[in-house]
Every structure is written in structure tokens, then in C-alpha cells.
């Protein structure tokens, strides 16, 4: 076969038909336009990922801040119990959010698999 990129030594009795097919293929392979909402989804996911990273980073800072605060109050000997309760409360809140985040992921996985399952059933 004889295509435009075929090495000279490999060119056999290759024909105009090969070239014609290549031309047709090149035309057929023009890039398809991306779906109109693709960019929006990309930006949304990017933003969400950065929010989560920031949020998780915030958790650590909050914990550090809470711990330092607790330490200062203990050293100062004033309102320790209230601070401790606040710290525990914030931790509990973060645990709730962690649990709900995992729940969200699990439910999304479930929906995705069920949708795939339905699709493969419909394709049969």
C-alpha cells in the first residue's frame, strides 16, 4: 500500500485509491466541536476541587488554632472548659462533614453504576 508517509522502499504498486482514502479519512477526521457545556463542567470541577483542598487545609489550621487556643487558655487558667467544648464541637462538625462527603461520593458511584447498567441493558 502506498500512503503519503510510506517510506519509498515500501511503496509497492500502491495506488491513487490509497491516497484518495487518506484524503477522505483526513476530511472525516476533522475535529468535532466540544459539547457546549464541557468548559463549564471543567471549571466547576476545578473550582470544587480547589474548594475541597482549601477546606481540608482549613481543617488542619482550625485544629492547630484550636489546640493553640486551648493551650493558651490552660496556661492562662481561664474558661478552659468552654474552649474545650468549642474545640470538641468543631471536631464533631468536621467529622459530620467528612461522613457526608463520603456518603455523597458513595451515592454518586451508585448512581453512575446503575446508569451504566441501564445503558448496557438498553444497548442489548
Amino acid at each position: 500500500m502506498d500512503f503519503e508517509w510510506t517510506d519509498q522502499r515500501d511503496k509497492g504498486t500502491g495506488s491513487e485509491q490509497d491516497r484518495e482514502f487518506e484524503r477522505e479519512l483526513k476530511q472525516a477526521m476533522e475535529r468535532r466541536p466540544a459539547p457546549p457545556n464541557l468548559k463549564r463542567r471543567i471549571m466547576q470541577k476545578r473550582s470544587a476541587r480547589r474548594t475541597e483542598q482549601h477546606h481540608t487545609s482549613k481543617i488542619w489550621w482550625q485544629r492547630l488554632a484550636a489546640s493553640l487556643l486551648v493551650g493558651a487558655v490552660v496556661a492562662g487558667g481561664f474558661g478552659w472548659r468552654q474552649m474545650e467544648e468549642r474545640r470538641r464541637g468543631e471536631e464533631a462538625k468536621q467529622q459530620v462533614l467528612t461522613a457526608l462527603r463520603i456518603t455523597n461520593q458513595v451515592l454518586n458511584n451508585m448512581n453512575r453504576k446503575l446508569a451504566e447498567h441501564d445503558r448496557s441493558d438498553n444497548g442489548k
Binding site: 500500500m1 479519512l25 472525516a28 477526521m29 466541536p33 466540544a34 464541557l38 471543567i42 471549571m43 470541577k45
Partner: protein
């Protein structure tokens, strides 16, 4: 002293989203999956922005990762026992009025019947207009292998296209 190129994520998305989407679609044969792959590719780009050295580097990086992610997603689906290559749902394709030739009408379906390596070579060659040398460099594959994949892929594609063309004509 020349200033280091500063990539702009939005601009890269605007410039290359169609390329990435088309690559993914032709590699996977599934429009929905191609959209997912395209999203993943750009999210990965976001994580690697500082490593990009030039617009050409960004373009080649996107091509390579798009092909790689597409084959990964195909393998995951294959492992699940979903046979994608029996029927491609017409609903996944572009609206009919966009189509021109019979080849274009069935292109993604025909491509999906080829082995992945041949498919990748053909898409990079004819969609991206890359030379075999550029494909070999981009995919980190031997040049001879790339040429062999191109050769065999074209031969196979052409044989299948001819058969389908006859069927298409019969179906008109």
C-alpha cells in the same frame, strides 16, 4: 532574557477542548465517555501547569494524556464486561445533518473496531496531522511500531469502510 511562558488555564481549555474531546471520542467510540475523559484530562492539566514549558509542549502533553486516559477508561469498561464494540448507540453520535460522507457517518464506529494502538496512530495522524516521527516521540514508541500500526490500521479501516459503505448504500 526571554520571559518564561506562563500558561493560562482558561485559554488552554478554549484552545484545545475540541481537540481533546475529538481524540477521546474517536478513541473510546462513546460520546459520553469522551466528555468524562476530556474533563479528567483538563483537571490533570490543572495539576501540571507549572511543568508546561511552551504552547507546543502543552499541546503534545494534552494529546498524550487524552490518548492515555481514553485507553484507561476503555480498559476499565472492558473489565466490567461491557462490550462496547457490538453496537454504538446512534444517540451518541453527532446529529445527522452534521455528517457528510458515509465514512464520516460511521467513522467512530469503524475506528472502535480497530485495536487501540492502531486507532491511536490513525487518530493522531489524520485528526492531528502528526507525522509518524512526531507520533513516535509523543507516545514514546518506536517509529517502526508507529508506522506498522498506521499501515495495518489503514488497511483494516479501509476494508471495513468498504464493507460498511456497501451496507450504507443498501440501507439508503
Amino acid at each position: 532574557m526571554a520571559q518564561r511562558w506562563q500558561p493560562d488555564f482558561l485559554q488552554l481549555v478554549d484552545e484545545h477542548q475540541s481537540m481533546v474531546f475529538s481524540l477521546a471520542w474517536r478513541m473510546t467510540g462513546d460520546r459520553g465517555l469522551a466528555e468524562e475523559v476530556a474533563q479528567d484530562v483538563f483537571l490533570e492539566l490543572d495539576r501540571h501547569m507549572e511543568r508546561l514549558e511552551s504552547p507546543e509542549h502543552a499541546l503534545n502533553w494534552l494529546r498524550r494524556v487524552a490518548v492515555s486516559r481514553s485507553t484507561d477508561s476503555l480498559r476499565r469498561r472492558r473489565v466490567r464486561g461491557v462490550d462496547l464494540w457490538v453496537e454504538i448507540d446512534e444517540k451518541h453520535g453527532s446529529p445527522a445533518e452534521e455528517r457528510q460522507s458515509p465514512l464520516e457517518t460511521r467513522l467512530e464506529q469503524l475506528l472502535s473496531t480497530l485495536p487501540e494502538a492502531q486507532r491511536a496512530a490513525l487518530v493522531l495522524r489524520y485528526q492531528e496531522d502528526m507525522t509518524p516521527e512526531e507520533i513516535a516521540a509523543s507516545m514514546d514508541a518506536p517509529l517502526a511500531t508507529v508506522k506498522s500500526n498506521l499501515h495495518r490500521g489503514l488497511k483494516l479501516l479501509r476494508a471495513k469502510a468498504t464493507t460498511h459503505l456497501k451496507e450504507y448504500v443498501r440501507g439508503l
